[in-house]
Structures are given as structure tokens and as C-alpha cells.
């Protein structure tokens, strides 16, 4: 429904120019909760602001329902934004803020009043209608900003790091709230965040970005379980990288000499070469007898984290490996530092990356 077609954005001129978006293409479906995820400076906000109309790409097209909107100014695009710091108008009441878009569209007074009421009810802010933004808490301002952006019933809602200013508890609440609003209104949400957990819990699909390009697009499960490259695997969740050698018969030789059979990516050729294995810490277990497990390491450190405990081990080739184990007082386990332990995992837990 929103089609971003080879968008190119550069800041500055000449050899010192910074390429913020390097021919980025992505198609976002109707009524989808789509997240742009990446570290700061990866171009995610630039892409969002290009869709909103605040940045003028030097090349490419952005099509909304088939029509190229790139030449339209922001106030002619049927797209609304929830800004990072809310950007509520300080001299207007909550109700005036929410009604601003409709007023600018020249809607009749009665319709504006009705929609404002509806939107405030949707974000549970009806009681605050006549307050000023300065009289609201951060979470309340966030809700008003949402209501204001939703009131003109845009085709697409853009959210620019909209939850990052909230504290953890409020953020979790708003994550659920956002998801509810999205499914109730059926509006396409494009959400920008650097918080991978936020992206995983809310999104229908995620685009992981880095250095002005999209590295991988997929559902949260696809991105987490089947990262296509090291950057994605590293950015999403905690990850162990294990250097290994792929043989022509399709088996992988691990540090320490054990051989396992691991699933290759569909398009990867079966030929002998060095590869990197991705193994998630929570998909591994520690074995008291090292010989029983495909990998083994010396326990270096034990970190207690409340819900679970992280065991830091050193593999035979000197690389670090983390095993995560859920804490259960009914089944206490003690491993000694300096002890050699086996690291067990299922073959499905292993992802093979090139290089």
C-alpha cells in the first residue's frame, strides 16, 4: 500500500556528503504494524521523515495507494506523525490540539467536536480535554499526541521513537495500547525505534536497518530465529557467534572437533568454507559431562539476572559463549568457576551465516 521505491537521501555535497538512505526500497501493506529498527544514524528516522514529507530525497519514489506523493508538501500528504517529543502546541488545550488537523482541513465545527471526543475516548483522555499540555504527565502527553495524529483519520500513521521518552513501565503499557489502537483503527502504523524488544513485541513486520540500507525484512519470529547476516543477529537479542568450518558433505565442524548437521539458508551452496554459527543463549543448556555435548567451554563467570542466570564460558578456540538458564529454586544447580562444561543445543537452534 505504501511503496518506497529506491529512495536516495544525502546530506551535504561533494565527497564529504553523508548518504543517509542508499536506494532503499520497501513495501508496507495496508493495516500493517511495520517497524523500522536500527541503531542511531542508520537512516530509519530519515526514511520516516521522507514519507512524512520533511525530507526531500534526491531520487526514487514513494507511492501511497499507487500515487507518487514525493512532490507533495507535508500538509498535502494523507499521513500523520507522532513526534518523538510529542510537539503538542503549548498555547492550545488538549481538545484544540486534537482538533487542529481537522480544523486545518476545514471540517465543520460539529464534526470536529465529535471526532475530538471520540479520539479522546479512544486514548482515555476525555477528562483532560480542557487542560494545557504543560499540565499533563509524559504518558498523558503521549496519548494526546496519538489522538491528535489519529483524529484526521490518516491512511498511514508515522511514529518517530514515540515511546522512548517514557519510563519502562509506562512504555510497556503504551506498547500494548498502541497495538490495540492499531488493530481498532485499522490504520497502517510505521513505527521507528532503536529498541529491539519494542520492535519484536509490537510489529507485524520489522525492517532492520543499518548505514542507510535495509538489511532484512521479516516477521519478528523470522528476524529473531533466522537472521540473514551477522549485523541482524547481533542487533536483535543476545547472540553467540561461533566460528566453524562447513564441509562439502553439509556437516559443520565446531571448535573442539565435534561435527553437527546444521540447516543452511536455502540459497546457500554446499561447499567447504569457513562459516559463522548463530546460537541464542536461551536455546542452550549446560551439561555436567562435557563429552556428551557438541561444544564445551570453561566456566568463567556467573551473572545472576533475576529471572535467569547467565553463564559465561570460554570455548576451545578462545571465543566467549553465553548460556542462559531460567532460575528455578525448586531445581537448584551449582556450577563451579573454572569447571569445564558441555554446551548442549538442538540442531534447529543453529543458524549458519557466511564468513
Amino acid at each position: 500500500m505504501i511503496e518506497v521505491d529506491r529512495i536516495h537521501v544525502r546530506f551535504g555535497e561533494g565527497p564529504g556528503a553523508f548518504i543517509a538512505l542508499n536506494d532503499v526500497s520497501v513495501t508496507i501493506n495496508e493495516s500493517e504494524f511495520f517497524t523500522l529498527l536500527g541503531p542511531s544514524g542508520c537512516g530509519k528516522t530519515t526514511l520516516l521523515r521522507s514519507i512524512a514529507g520533511f525530507i526531500h530525497p534526491s531520487g526514487g519514489a514513494i507511492r501511497l495507494a499507487g500515487q507518487n506523493i514525493l512532490s507533495l508538501p507535508p500538509f498535502k500528504r494523507p499521513v500523520n506523525t507522532v513526534f518523538q517529543n510529542y510537539a503538542l502546541f503549548p498555547h492550545m488545550t488538549v481538545a484544540e490540539n486534537v482538533g487542529f488537523g481537522l480544523e486545518m482541513l476545514g471540517r465543520p465545527r460539529a464534526e470536529i467536536a465529535a471526532t475530538v471526543e471520540e479520539m479522546l475516548a479512544l486514548v482515555k483522555m476525555t477528562a483532560m480535554a480542557s487542560r494545557r499540555p504543560s499540565e499533563l504527565s509524559g504518558g498523558q502527553q503521549q496519548r494526546v499526541a496519538l489522538a491528535r495524529a489519529l483524529a484526521p483519520k490518516p491512511k498511514v500513521l508515522l511514529l518517530d521513537e514515540s515511546l522512548s521518552a517514557l519510563d519502562l513501565k509506562l512504555r510497556k503499557e503504551m506498547q500494548i495500547e498502541l497495538k490495540r489502537l492499531q488493530s481498532e483503527t485499522g490504520i497502517t502504523f510505521i513505527f521507528v525505534t532503536h529498541d529491539q524488544e519494542e520492535a519484536l513485541t509490537m510489529s507485524d513486520r520489522i525492517a532492520v536497518m543499518s548505514a542507510g540500507t535495509i538489511r532484512q525484512i521479516g516477521t519478528p519470529r523470522e528476524i529473531y530465529d533466522h537472521p540473514r547476516e551477522r549485523f541482524v543477529a547481533d542487533f536483535i537479542g543476545d547472540t553467540n557467534f561461533v566460528q566453524a568450518n562447513l564441509s562439502a558433505d553439509g556437516t559443520v565442524e565446531l571448535p573442539g572437533g565435534a561435527r553437527i548437521r546444521a540447516g543452511l539458508q536455502e540459497d546457500a551452496a554446499v561447499a567447504a568454507r569457513p562459516v559463522t554459527l548463530v546460537i541464542r543463549p536461551e536455546q542452550t543448556v549446560l551439561e555436567q559431562v562435557p563429552e556428551k555435548a557438541p561444544l564445551s567451554g570453561v566456566l568463567e563467570n556467573v551473572v545472576y539476572c533475576g529471572t535467569d542466570t547467565h553463564y559465561h564460558l570460554m570455548l576451545a578456540d578462545g571465543a566467549r559463549f553465553v548460556v542462559r538458564r531460567q532460575n528455578n529454586p525448586a531445581r537448584p544447580v551449582t556450577f563451579e568457576k573454572g569447571q569445564r562444561l558441555g554446551i548442549g543445543f538442538e540442531p534447529q537452534a543453529v543458524q549458519v551465516l557466511e564468513g
Binding site: 514529507g53 500538509f75 499521513v79 502546541f89
Partner: protein, 305 residues
Amino acid sequence: MAVTQPNTDLVIANRRETRNRWLLLLPSIVILLAAAVGPLIVVVIYSFLTAGDYGGVVWHFSWDGWLGVFTTSDPFDGTLSLANAHISILWRSVKLSFLTTLFCLILGFPTAYFIATRPVTQRDGWMLLITIPFWTNLLIRTFAIMGLIRNEGLANGLLEWLGIIDHPIQMMFTDFAILLGMVYVYLPLMVLPLYASMERLNFSLIDAAYDLYATPFRVLRRVIVPAVKPGVVAGSILVFVPSLGAYVIPRILGGGTQLMLGNLIELQFGQARNWPLGAALSLTLLVMVTVALIVYVRASANEGD
């Protein structure tokens, strides 16, 4: 007794603190009395005295100073009639001050906006350019304007050279000349407070308004102007008040014919030797400024709600 003792100490301590507070305030109170309240009282008293034949005042109560503000007495039969000259000078002062404020706002607003939207490192440089005229004496700047607009000046010369006019346009000694001079001299006073409030403007508000279908003009009217209103009010006051009392600029650019209140007052203390009238005119100016300020501040405070 043991219970009341600490209370008495507390009372004494409080009293001492109050006394110390007044002692510390004393220098500013003395300055205020000596520099503002005192002279003002002298002016009020002088306005009710009789004019001396060679200037100064005779210590004899009289309404003549105040009557002279709006009326003039016939030298032969002593009947009072409306002082048309004074009223036209008053009107010119108000009109030119209002126009000066308006043009300063029209010119100063985009200037301040331009500077506030430059990168942080460049802003100080631009502000320096705005304040540079302050480094030169007001008289010299006013004479420079005269050099530009007199009949043989740069503006007329250029227009004649371009063939747009045959004869020089008479610009000196007109209201236009005074207006031009005052706008030029007072413009920085408008730009400085405007810039101060624009620098604090949250520019994401502008993005938000654009995003919510506001056209550029509506963004200006509904978001930028309300946000920088304190700067507009401060700048307008800073320009309007000295404009109303302007003396040097109308004296040079208006010649002897286009007087403003400041010149009229000076005249009473100089050639006309009518100090009580001068004092009454000064107080009239003071009242006008006060009324204008109250009306303006009230009006602009209500407008936002």
C-alpha cells in the same frame, strides 16, 4: 519562662532579619528615589507653576502649563481656543510611532526568524551584524540617512541616473524621512527580543503543524506567532516608547517643520521659555505611553486565549 524564652529569641532574630533586608535594599531604593521618583515629582510641581520671563519658573501656582497643552490663548483678548499645532504634533507622534513599530515588526520578524533558523555557530555572527549600528553615534547615523535621501543624495541620484525620475523627490523634512530614520534606528530593538523568543521556539511544533495540514501561512499565524508573542510584545514596546519621545531624528530629518512631541517639549525649555508647559507636555507623554502600554499588553494577553 523556660518555654517562652526561645520564642523571644526568635522574635528578635526575625526583627533583625527584617532590618537587614531593608539595609540591603537601601542602595536600590536610594537610586530609584534619586533617579526616577524625585525628578518626576519636580516635573509635576513645575507643571503647576508660572513661567519665568527668561526661562525657569516663578513659585506661584498656575494652571497655565496644563491649559497650554491643548489650548492656546489669544494674545489680544485672552480667550482660549484649541491648540491645533499641538494636536497635530501629538497626532504625528502617535501616527509615526505606530507606523515605526509596525514596519519594525514587518522587517524584524523575518530577520529574527532567519537568524534563529541558522546553525547555532552562525547565529552570533548574524546578531553581531544587527547590533553593529549601535556602536555608532545616533547623530551620525541620522546624518547618514540624510545623505541618502536628500535631493542631491544617493537615492535621488540613483533614480535620476536610471531615468526613473526627472526631478529629485523631496524626501527630507517629511514624515517619510522621520519614519525611515526611526525604523532604521529602532529596528535592532525589535529584532533582539524577537530573536530571543524565536531561539527558544520548538521547531518540531512547526513540523507538527505542517504535518496536520496547516499551510505555511497558517503555521505562521497559528503556531509561530503565538509561540513568540512575548518577543513581539517586548519588541513593540521597546520600539514604540522611544519613538513617541523621539527627539534627534525628527529634529534632523523633519527639519523645523515636522515636529514631534520630543521637539515640542525641547522647544518649551529652550526658545519658548515656558517650563511649566514643557513639564505638562512631558507628563502628557508619560501618560500616553502608560495608557498605550496597558492597552497593548492587555489586548495581546487576551488574544492568545
